[in-house]
Amino acid sequence: MNENGAHLLEADAISKYYGNIVALKDITTHVDGGEVTCILGDNGAGKSSFIKILSGAHQPDEGRLRVDGEEVVFQSPRDARAKGIATVYQDLAMVPLMSIWRNFFLGAEPRKGYGPFHWFDSATAKRIVRRELSEMGIDIRDPDQAVGTLSGGERQSVAIARAVYFGARVLILDEPTSALGVKQAGVVLKYILQARDRGVAVIFITHNPHHAYPVGDRFVILNRGQSLGTFEKSEIDRQELVRLMAGGRELAELEHELEAIQAEVS
């Protein structure tokens, strides 16, 4: 919250319909600098509709978005970026055949030159990449390495470092850990905390409560387009989060079934 009591980014009763399908209904949440808000939900819960609205790719049918307490309407991702909202998509983060430093500055290359002649200042680019990545605690052997040779977790981490370096105030991460193994996911979670500690507001979309709980300050649980509630970390424990995520009753049924199967086997 800033001095006026306004949140950095606030979604107020957001709804989205596709024809007669209700993709999102009355979703309200917020995030501030130095915090992580987790959006949790199973497939089809409305997570991707929600980030598309936050990142400016879609417009909500009802409800309002506010940045620093001021209402905003994003016509495109460019508008959102202008407000300091950066989105790191799982698949669209990097060009695999290009080196790390070329990727890092893609679309915002530092240049130097005289008169009409300018060139891509690769020495500066490499130096900044090395510095930024090491400040985030990312150990890159060689900025000349092709991004395709990095692991999925390293790639996500470089994308996060890039968004932070280019002044993102809000970082929206779309399922950054979903395609990763346990250890790689841990690496990405660590960088989420690094970004948070640098004062960035993080919105972390995931379907995995075990990834969300250790890093989140606030949890929004989506189910079939509805919010099951927004919980501060103090209000909820891990078991409850897992239970809500799986839709409570359904999980109880599943446990019952699994026990029955186990009884048959033994």
């Binding site: 991702p77 460019r78 998509y89 669209l92 983060a93 990097m94 060009v95 695999p96 055949l97 290009m98 070329r102 500055f105 893609l106 679309g107 915002a108 290359e109 240049r111 300018h118 060139w119 891509f120 690769s122 052997r141 092709a146 395709g148 040779t149 990095l150 692991s151 999925g152 346990v182 250890k183 075990h210």
Partner: protein, 349 residues
């Protein structure tokens, strides 16, 4: 979540084992350099009837041929790295040369403004190619194939209607011809090295610099490698591709000008078939058919290799029809090598 198994001590152990040689092999231009050196030395043996390795006159011959391939191969390589093809690059040489011939012999223009008009014509055709590809999202292979056939017809029918022959002659009757020929198409030294070779080297240096050292170069890589990611971070992908098409047609027009000045006449079939040679040079130079990766320096060596094969087969007194077979074999070997390199780069995802 409790971690049960101890994590490996160092996650990058696999990568440490990669030695400097393996690293060198991921460079796209090494294969072309080794190949060109190999062909040079091989003809030193097979063409031992002449002093292949030592005679500068022979080097002047094959560099002349290589320059004819290499000048246009540079923008073709950049275009391929940007993820597109231009099959009209060969026929553009003929169209431009014929246009220069028409402007000087039938419209009685001075050669210099005529040259300027021809270059603008090249840029315009490139813009049409690029704009069509970007707007329709059709494969550039199809779009530029159409341009190729349209221009081929125009070249043949236009020349016949104009002259009653299959060529435009007497371009050297134009005013200013000698000064233009000195600049574009003369001999540099007593051994008969063509000024064309200097153009080839110069365009290669500019192309390599653009790719490695300019912002535009970064955009070329990304436009071919992962256009959606590139757009996502604000790269003007469409503008980059249109510019590349314009560079390709513009430099093909330059090549047409060079040939018209050198030969003093222009055949209506000139340039047809060269489009594939340019692509072979680029592929030998390490450019992937799928875009996003390649080298201008490698393309230079690719052109050198094909130039040597063309002349070496004659000097070795073999049937010159074998040239095609060689070109095919070289292309196949290069594609296999490139695929292996890309697999190496994409490994460990």
């Amino acid at each position: 979540m409790a971690e049960t198994a101890a994590p490996p001590a160092h996650p990058d152990e696999r990568l440490v084992r990669v030695g400097p040689l393996a690293r060198l092999l991921t460079r796209p231009d090494i294969g072309a350099f080794v190949g060109a050196l190999g062909v040079y030395l091989a003809f030193g043996y097979f063409a031992r009837g002449v002093d292949w390795l030592g005679d500068p006159g022979i080097a002047a011959n094959w560099t002349d041929q290589a320059a004819q391939y290499g000048i246009v191969a540079v923008p073709v390589a950049l275009l391929m790295i940007g993820g597109e093809f231009d099959l009209s690059a060969g026929v553009m040489i003929g169209s431009s040369g014929l246009l220069l011939g028409y402007l000087t012999t039938h419209a009685d223009m001075n050669i210099w403004p005529a040259i300027l008009l021809v270059l603008l014509f090249g840029l315009a055709i490139g813009f049409i190619n690029g704009y069509t590809v970007v707007r329709t999202k059709l494969p550039s292979f199809i779009v530029t194939l159409a341009t190729f056939f349209v221009l081929q017809g125009v070249n043949a029918a236009g020349t016949l209607k104009l002259t009653g022959q299959t060529a435009i002659q007497n371009i050297d009757s134009a005013s200013g011809f000698d000064s233009a020929r000195r600049f574009f198409a003369s001999d540099v030294t007593t051994y008969g090295f063509k000024v064309k070779v200097i153009w080839w080297i110069g365009i290669t240096i500019v192309g390599a610099w653009l790719l490695a050292k300019s912002r535009f170069g970064n955009w070329i890589y990304s436009a071919g490698g992962e256009p959606n990611s590139a757009r996502n971070v604000g790269v003007p992908v469409a503008r980059t591709k249109i510019t590349l098409f314009m560079m390709t047609s513009g430099i093909a027009a330059l090549m047409g000008i060079i040939e018209a000045l050198e030969l003093r006449s222009m055949q209506s079939k000139e340039g047809i078939g060269l489009e594939f040679i340019f692509i072979i040079c680029a592929v030998v130079g390490g450019c992937l058919l799928t875009g996003g990766f390649g080298s201008v320096i490698g393309t230079f060596f690719g052109a050198a290799m094909l130039g040597m094969v063309q002349l070496g087969i004659v000097d070795a007194q073999w049937d010159s029809n074998w040239t095609y077979t060689f070109q095919g074999a070289i292309l196949f070997a290069a594609v296999l090598l490139n695929t292996a390199i890309r697999a190496r780069m994409r490994r460990a995802r």
